[in-house]
Amino acid sequence: MLKKRIIAVLPVYNGIVVQSIGFHKYLPVGKAEIAIEFLNAWGIDEIVVADITARKNQRVIQPGFIKQISKKCLVPLTVGGGITRLEDVHELIHSGADKVCVNNPVLTNPGLISEIARNYGDQCVVASIDIIRENNSLYVWDYTTKTRSTQSVAQVLQTAIQAGAGELLINSVHNDGKYTGYDTELFTEVCNQVTVPVLACGGARNAESMIQLLNATEVSAACAGNFFHFFEHSVTITKKEIAKHSDAIRIETAANYKQNEVDAYGRLIKKDDAVLEHLLYLKIEKEII
């Protein structure tokens, strides 16, 4: 059975992973390779790294940077930021990326998506589309001009699909970094219009947000940027909470916390001292690969 994916989206601002709030305010988190190593160990299903300063500075996310951060990444790594040519994709895929993500080209140069799909297959191109809800209507957001695009949401979705995008990463700008939960209506609307996998991003607060999203919509993945950085083993603990409501979750980490309780913030509650004392004498065999 195909599982729903839990994806970490890491915005990178001048080489540092940041928390993004409303697409305009950024708080530093730390080094990308460390975030990736930990997310990987905690059983994340996929990682997206987006260099959000690349296009503004007219450069591409650096292949050298991807080489460095991909060393300990044993899950699919999608990278994006400033990609304008097929050669950029070639370099990135030869540096440790598995897929590429394009955002601005969806609005300005969909031919690039076709070109990547023709060479690397449609499954290699993720179209990232930013959508904003204003006055209860949905608009496509152009982050380069910080304005609403003149193209409608339906138009842009069709453009991306027809150009050959294999997946759509949909960011709800109005919820970004606000911990409001996902805009499930938005994602339902998008899923109704396309047959490719939809990755939902924006507003995740905790496992509960993801449970609501996966219950209410047909999305293939729940993405989160910020809250995975807040506590140890965040991915594993989040997944085990979601798994209470859905069997479409992959849990394969050695520790799965199924016997542990969590508090309202999703953090583990300390076990009783007597239990911990007992654990001291438990021998756990490490699997040798």
Binding site: K72, L74, P76, R118, N119, G121, Q123, P197, A221
Partner: protein, 211 residues
């Protein structure tokens, strides 16, 4: 004992570096190359994935790698593992963007996933596989092991005995193939965490008896 050398065959497209990262993790000596002397001297070959069939196969043909691989894999029986489109190229032909002939190492066709089953196409994400032939690819795999898939087309071998594992996505489709020293997987072991590492390890340990 000297360490085994594994060569990731670089045919232009393909996520060569990702595969190298996973194999380095297992402490193998890894080379990424298209040069015949390097490919020739390796103990084991890997044909990586991520590419469209037409571009992948025409790169293989125009670079002379097709003849080299035929000599090494078919005549000299060197072990090889194809990943994703690297596996699909072992088929007779593919229907991706037209009709393109493959290497024909394992007779069969590469066809599009059917959207009529109501599942999104491409098939992307972690899915559980059912091994049919356990050795050498799945010697240490647990039942219900997850692997990462990312594809719109799949391999239908003519002979059922070449199917080494299946996966359910609407109908049951081919997840892995094997014929003597030739193995192929539709999923990405280099991106399947511990399960992928275990597959590489058991492939390398087990495949040499076929060489």
């Amino acid at each position: 004992m000297s360490r085994l050398t594994i060569c990731i065959v670089d045919y232009g497209v393909g996520n060569t570096h990702s595969v190298a990262n996973a194999l380095s993790f297992l402490d193998y000596k890894v080379k990424i190359s298209q040069h015949s002397d390097i490919v020739r001297s390796a103990d084991i070959l890997i044909l990586p994935g991520v590419g469209a069939f037409e571009v992948a196969i025409s790169n293989l043909k125009s670079s002379g790698l097709q003849e080299l691989l035929h000599e090494l894999v078919i005549e000299k029986q060197k072990p090889i593992l194809g990943i994703c489109v690297g596996m699909q190229m072992m088929a007779t032909y593919s229907e991706e963007n037209g009709h393109h002939s493959g290497l024909n190492w394992i007779p069969g066709a590469v066809v599009k996933l059917d959207e009529k089953f109501g599942f999104p196409v491409p098939h992307v994400g972690w899915n559980t596989i059912s091994p049919v032939i356990h050795e050498p690819l799945f010697t240490t795999a647990h039942n219900e092991s997850h692997f990462y898939f990312d594809h719109s087309f799949y391999f239908k071998p003519d002979a059922q005995h070449h199917v080494a594992a299946t996966v359910n996505y609407g109908p049951s489709i081919t997840a892995a193939v094997q014929h003597e020293n030739i193995c192929g997987v539709q999923f990405h072991p280099e991106k399947s965490q511990t399960n992928g590492l275990k597959l590489f390890r058991s492939f390398v340990n087990g495949i040499q008896q076929y060489a």
